[in-house]
Symmetry: C2
Subunit: 336 residues, 2 copies
């Protein structure tokens, strides 16, 4: 265990992530200092925000520096420890690097509970990262009420699938928007969404008019662009829009913002609120317990899209921006 593999940011992407933007290196492993421990990563989480961190656009934490290990959500087990209270075999998850062996003093990590009946990929992928995003975004900001109409874009993705199912648990009519018939069928047939619009083959606005002639109370926004505009035009009075992501613009070279909807926000008394899941970190125990409970009761299903091999991370991440993933995208760094 004297070397490790790591993806480093070689240069900032222009437009789509290209070969060579990230560099896969084998490096000597630095010895542990007092207070540090070594994690062998099991899963690496690939998320839309990865592209933000690679850029120097305005963002909510410092971008990854050129030459630094690529930042990502990770989980792994302790294989060596020089930190009090941390033992070999302990399971941690949080923010780390795209590597197989990670030296940490615990900053940005927390212990991941192992819950019988919930596989590690679901516990990490759903309870650890995208679950709280869906939970707080929908419940705190969206404030769903029984009978209301909820639209969620990127419906088959990591966050979207959970948002829609929580919406159903809360008694909403849930309309997903996803790319392709397989994803649309899955969120309706397997997850119980009321409907799903295939943005690749259908006119989103016309389908919304047909499926939700009453208008939309909550728009859980993840994609931005024309899809967001189509939904926003159909918001009802006192509608809420948790603004979780704008993935359609992350790869844009000359990003044109969707237009403002200021007059409509005023007249219809809409609430738009941007958020990042870490804003809710002090309440992660609440979301984790609620989500785990729904999973154990069979009310919350999840689907991961697991790609084996750290060396494939830089290729896999591109699928997020083309819709090539089906479920929460994870890289299996080491078999669990």
């Amino acid at each position: 265990m004297t070397t490790r593999n790591i993806w480093r940011l070689a240069k900032r992407p222009v437009g789509d992530i290209a070969d060579g933007d990230l560099e896969f290196l084998s490096e000597p492993l630095p010895p542990l200092a007092e207070g540090q421990f070594l994690l062998r990563l099991t899963y690496l989480s690939l998320d839309p925000t990865n592209r933000i961190w690679m850029s120097d656009m305005e963002q909510y934490m410092p971008p990854v520096e050129i030459g630094a290990g690529m930042r990502g959500g990770v989980c792994g087990r302790v294989v060596e420890s020089r930190k009090d209270g941390v033992a070999v075999g302990d399971l941690f998850a949080g923010l780390g690097e795209w590597t197989d062996l990670m030296v940490s003093d615990g900053t940005g990590l927390s212990r991941l509970p192992e819950i019988p009946g919930i596989p590690l990929a679901a516990a990490f992928g759903t309870l650890g990262l995208v679950g709280p995003t869906a939970y707080f975004g929908l419940l705190d900001i969206g404030q769903p009420k029984p009978g209301e109409t909820l639209v969620v874009s990127a419906a088959a993705g990591g966050v979207g699938q959970i948002v829609g199912q929580i919406g159903k648990i809360k008694g909403c009519k849930v309309i997903g928007i996803a790319g392709g018939p397989a994803k649309c069928a899955w969120v309706v047939d397997e997850l119980g969404f009321d409907a799903c619009i295939d943005y690749k083959s259908q006119d989103v606005g016309a389908e919304l008019d047909r499926l939700a002639p009453e208008g939309i109370d909550i728009n859980f926004e993840q994609v931005g662009g024309d899809i967001m505009v189509a939904v926003l035009k159909r918001m009802r009075w006192f509608g809420r829009m948790p603004l979780c992501g704008l993935i359609s613009g992350y790869n844009a070279v000359d990003a044109a913002e969707p237009p403002g909807f200021w007059t409509q926000m005023l007249m219809r008394r809409l609430t738009v609120r941007g958020f990042i899941v870490t804003d809710f970190a002090p309440r992660f125990a609440e979301s984790g317990m609620a989500l785990a409970g729904w999973m154990l009761e069979g009310k919350l299903k999840t689907r991961q899209d697991i790609r084996p091999g750290l060396e494939n991370a830089a290729t896999a991440v591109k699928d997020l921006y083309s819709g090539g993933n089906f479920g929460k995208l994870l890289v299996e760094v080491t078999p669990p």
Copy 2:
């Protein structure tokens, strides 16, 4: 008392309100039916929303129909009653018509308390209408905390003057934006704002950089357009924007919305929420008592801009859109 004067909407304005859009008529007064009473109006409130109601743009209540009496905030005393529990001399305020004698069954009206030490123009103009707008918009949506920086546009207007003073009561640094040195001096010297930017002679963005290098936590938005854009660019993380009005666009023939700030709303986790004061109607007693208390304690000063004569209403209302009023704009229909 067999005739009354009334302003009726003759046609919808195109651009600025023009002579002939409103028609001043003398009409026979219809006899009171059972359950009705007759109010002699004391004050008519002129508000930015008047222009919205005259148009057929998207809005939050039905527009005024062509030929109907122009809608407005009114207060007046009962001069004749055929309604149980309503006596001659009772004072009412609420939504009514631009008239001197108004027949009502009480719909849209409520009793206006007469508080010793508070003149009727202030009680009606401040406690009855713009006060709750400022109170709920700032406190419920803006959620000011001590030490935060609050910017309020249209700072010397009816709502803005109260927003800024409540901001000071709550411990904020308050920066107003107003047109001309007299208004700017008044909000600083008389009302205790920390600073005021004269948008007619100063570069709003540069002044904000100088006065609030720390950025802006709360933008109480009333005007839209370039001023809103200058403020939005300087919002701090977790900033809030009560969206109260967009007056700069109300007279536009081909209204161009200010651009979207979606990426910034996401990355800085901003909250934008549109509201109309009537959304808070069930809580008007709360705002009325709080505002009256601050007025009696000398912490809340108000300035009305009172124009005598109902016949002058159609001319006076135009001042709202050119910045020609200084304080809450009222028409004195009958001496109080």
